[in-house]
Amino acid sequence: MTEATHELPLPAARPPAASAGPLGWLRANLFNSPLNTILTLAAVYLFVVTIPPIIRWAFVNAIWSADSGRACRGDGACWAFIAEKLRFILFGRYPYQEHWRPLFVVVTFVALILASCDRRLWGRRLALLWMGGLAAVGVLMWGGILGLTYVETELWNGLPLTLILAIVGMALAFPLAILLALGRRSQLPAIRAICVAYIELVRGVPLITVLFMASVMLPLFLPTGVTIDKLLRAQVAFILFSAAYLAEVIRGGLQAIPKGQHEAADALGLSYWQRTRLIVLPQALAMVIPPLVNTFIGTFKDTSLVIIIGLFDLLGTTNAALTDANWRGFYLEAYVFTAAIYFCFCFFMSRYSQMLEREFNKGRGR
């Protein structure tokens, strides 16, 4: 006999098991159709053909120490070249006996970045930490006080230069970008026009051109006797350039905020800046984390373009290291090594953005 009504609700049941063991998983995901079977086999073949030679080149046949380039020729990679040139690639022409200073700078940057991952530090404490950290970076790089010898910015090379350009650039471009994005959506025609003109102008010009203008044209406009440091000019060019791109990303987020959010904030009596800071920006920025980080990663790699105005960033010192007559032709090793450094930082940024997204989405969904 079946009952038409239940006095008690049915007990909750477990969902059915998705797959039965590793064999079941293989069949369901890799061999579930003829096409997939062919693709799987093709992929396996590709791995078999490519991976062993790479391992042989990079590890098995690699030469780890040698006195000169001639002693380093063989089937494998010449990591001895990297070992020989490591300090030059990382720090360039920074005075050799002072290399601990840029090393500390790199360590400081990495420590600051790692500290930014800890949600408990967010807020005023993290801001203070960054300000202190950047001040320490300045003191270490420049010297001239605390018994440190003065080092001119010409000699700031390699990884510290890349990090300074990228991190200071992003940190200052970001607030500028927020103002530009807000300005572009302003009710005031003059402000809107200025912001639109700025963004479109800067975006319409290649970064190389902006860098050239900063390094070659700007001095022409300055009165004689006045010079601005080349690194500073490049840094400013960088900030102005990435701000235009970031502004458009942020504007995308601003446009995605429903009108009701503005109205609710207005109806509560919040002023424009209160509404922007407390209601609009937190939501808009959280929404555009993926494209923001995309732009940041692009900016980080774009720092390598400063080579054309004679600044030696990480890629610049790598190229310079390759010109040593005793160590000719180790392009692959040099670029693999430098690419690995770039990758570490970019990959970290991408993981960090995923963490931020998770953090901001906590408890938001239904």
Partner: protein, 251 residues
């Protein structure tokens, strides 16, 4: 419209006109609302009722006539607008809670930043109002984790935390599932019993009969008829009102 006991109205609309481009959306609106008076505005969709109450706290700008709220005339002066908005609470059809803040933060935001209350005091007030709308246990949750009815009650509490003199309701139950309408109306009825000045756009005629001191019927941008609910429902003067009432009371 005159107020029976001759007291000064807290909301005055005098000859208010508004256009959306060429479209004449509000036509010569005259309305007085006294302190503690409950006004229910009804009418077919597109009749301008939402636009009218949104003019009262300047979410929409009127182009002709005068609007005076709590003794302050609404002009394009931002200081005046902000002063009026502090005294006028508004509840929206779509709740418009801030999704990135917890319920408690939604409630304390404006008191802390606009009224400059200390956080502790703002939180105490907020918990008091959450109690009144019967969801004290949801304080730490985010709006997205609540049902529609709960969200709308949070929205009412959020407005009340600013201790407004006037509450505007713009179709507060139109976006709710049927079983949640009552819980929101109950809160609104309680609020009315406490003497809050309310202007409420709604299709809930049962609520209107219980609560309203004055019914306002709008059609095509003008106030067609107004009066006490008893008369309004039993004895509508105009054909347009009669047609509208027969349509919404038919089932």
């Amino acid at each position: 419209m005159t107020i029976s006991d001759g007291q000064v109205p807290i909301i005055e609309l005098r000859g208010v006109d508004k256009w959306y481009g060429e479209f004449h959306v509000l036509r010569n609106i005259n309305l007085d609302v006294g302190k503690g008076e409950r006004v229910v505005v009804c009418g077919p969709s597109g009749s301008g009722k939402s636009t009218m109450i949104r003019c009262i706290n300047r979410l929409e700008e009127h182009q002709r006539g005068q609007i005076i709220v709590a003794g302050i005339e609404l002009t394009s002066d931002v200081k005046n607008i902000e002063a009026i908005r502090r005294e006028v609470g508004m509840v929206f059809q779509q709740f418009n809670l801030f999704p990135h803040l917890t319920v408690l933060e939604n409630l304390t935001l404006a008191p802390i930043w606009v009224r400059k209350l200390p956080r502790k005091e703002a939180e105490e007030t907020a918990r008091l109002y959450l109690e009144r709308v019967r969801i004290p246990e949801q304080a730490e949750k985010y709006p997205g984790q609540l049902s529609g009815g709960q969200q709308q009650r949070v929205a009412i509490a959020r407005s009340l935390c600013m201790k407004p003199e006037i509450m505007l309701f713009d179709e507060p139950t139109s976006a709710l599932d049927p079983e949640m309408i009552k819980e929101v109306l109950d809160v609104m009825i309680e609020l009315a019993e406490d003497g809050m000045t309310m202007v409420c756009v709604t299709h809930e005629m049962g609520f209107a009969r219980t609560v309203a001191d004055t019914m306002v019927f709008m059609d095509r941008g003008e106030i067609v008829e107004h009066g006490p609910p008893k008369e309004f429902f039993a004895n509508p003067k105009s054909d347009r009102t009669r047609l509208f009432l027969s349509q919404i009371l038919a089932h």
